[in-house]
């Protein structure tokens, strides 16, 4: 591999999906230009790795834990309305939204601002674990309104629908 590395090769490398990562590393160790281009791709890739979807699967949570991220969890029962501090030294705060019945087969998610009713986001068919949904919060969410209401719309095995609501008042702590 003597020619400069392509964008595609660098993206595959940073996605741990290149067929010959050793060759990529040997090339970048000997090429200043490719080092710079790889660093540029890597910066975005690494930042993406810190950007989580709102609802986590158990696999995602395990992957985050394996990476050594600073994670805390707190539990919300249906109907809870509570202020939750987000310490400055925490990477991810997981809100475990409990109260899902064992026969839930599909979950849709809505989040809106308590004070105004404005929609924040809505996602269909989101992942959940037995009895709960794992809502991930990160520091950059501090830019969103602090008073978030989450509604989980569940579809049960027999086709009936149900809904649970949780009000999360985020308080992002300063250093």
């Amino acid at each position: 591999m003597s020619a400069h590395l392509s964008w595609q090769a660098l993206v595959d490398y940073w996605a741990d999906d290149h067929p010959d990562p050793d060759a990529v590393e040997l090339h970048t160790m000997g090429c200043a230009e490719c080092t710079e281009r790889s660093a540029s791709v890597g910066a975005v890739a690494r930042a993406l790795g810190k950007l989580l979807p709102p609802l986590l699967t158990p696999g995602m949570l395990s992957a985050l834990q394996a990476r050594g991220l600073r994670i805390a969890q707190n539990v919300f029962a249906p109907g809870d309305r509570r202020e939750v501090p987000f310490p400055v030294d925490l990477d991810v705060l997981i809100h475990r939204l409990e109260g899902l019945a064992d026969d839930v087969v599909r979950l849709d998610f809505k989040m809106f601002v308590e004070s105004t009713g404005a929609a924040i986001t809505a996602l269909d068919d989101v992942p959940f674990v037995q009895g709960a949904a794992l809502l991930a919060c990160q520091q950059h969410y501090a830019s969103l309104p602090w008073d978030a209401v989450v509604e989980l719309h569940a579809t049960h095995r027999d086709g009936r629908k149900s809904q649970t609501r949780y009000t999360i008042l985020h308080r992002f702590l300063q250093a």
């Binding site: 964008w7 595609q8 993206v11 595959d12 490398y13 940073w14 996605a15 741990d16 999906d17 590393e25 040997l26 970048t28 160790m29 000997g30 200043a32 080092t35 710079e36 790889s38 660093a39 540029s40 791709v41 890597g42 910066a43 975005v44 890739a45 690494r46 930042a47 993406l48 790795g49 810190k50 950007l51 989580l52 979807p53 699967t57 696999g59 995602m60 992957a63 990476r67 050594g68 990160q138 520091q139 950059h140 830019s143």
Partner: protein, 174 residues
């Protein structure tokens, strides 16, 4: 910037040329840091890796122990791999050197709020492929199975999505 080839730097270091040592460090610091970011995943251990590796390479060069000076890049890469392996196997701390601490490589900082917005602007498939690739760390094969796409299609989607995000970030940055 010192334009001497790697082999010339190695030979000069063996003769006590301090400028050659500085040039070697300046040349390889970004490359070692990049290796550290990939394998150790964070800035601080990557910085420590730079110091450990450069210390080892300089000592080898001073002692005339780099057998093939023209392949200095291979020697540095091998030193990186060994250092990372020692960290992983024995949790052995990386070395520190005051003189090398001053050698800093500027980090490319990406503001997560901007990234959040740029990812949100992608279409759903591109966003999903990026999240599965870099958050869940799924391979193209695994993603293809989940999304009913060929691995080749997944890679193309990933390349384009990351390119879109990079362009979006460039527009967002001051």
């Amino acid at each position: 910037m010192d334009a001497r080839a790697d082999a010339e730097l190695v030979s000069a270091i063996a003769l006590g040329d301090r400028a050659a040592e500085a040039a070697l460090c300046a040349r390889f610091s970004p490359r070692v840091r990049l290796y550290g970011l990939k394998h150790l995943r964070d800035e601080e251990p990557a910085r420590d890796l730079v110091q450990t590796v450069l210390l080892g390479v300089l000592e080898a060069a001073r002692g005339g122990r780099i057998a093939e000076p023209a392949q200095l890049d291979r020697f540095v890469l091998g030193t990186c791999r060994n250092a990372v392996a020692r960290v992983r196997q024995k949790r052995e701390p990386l070395a520190s050197d005051e003189a090398l601490q001053a050698l800093s490589v500027p980090a490319q900082r990406i503001e997560l709020g901007s990234l959040f917005g740029c990812v949100g602007a992608l279409d759903e498939r591109g966003r999903t492929v990026l999240m599965l690739s870099f958050v869940e760390e799924c391979s193209a094969d695994e993603i293809g199975t989940r999304l009913a796409l060929s691995p080749g299609n997944v890679r193309v989607l990933r390349h384009r999505a990351l390119q879109s995000v990079r362009r979006c970030l460039a527009r967002e940055s001051p």
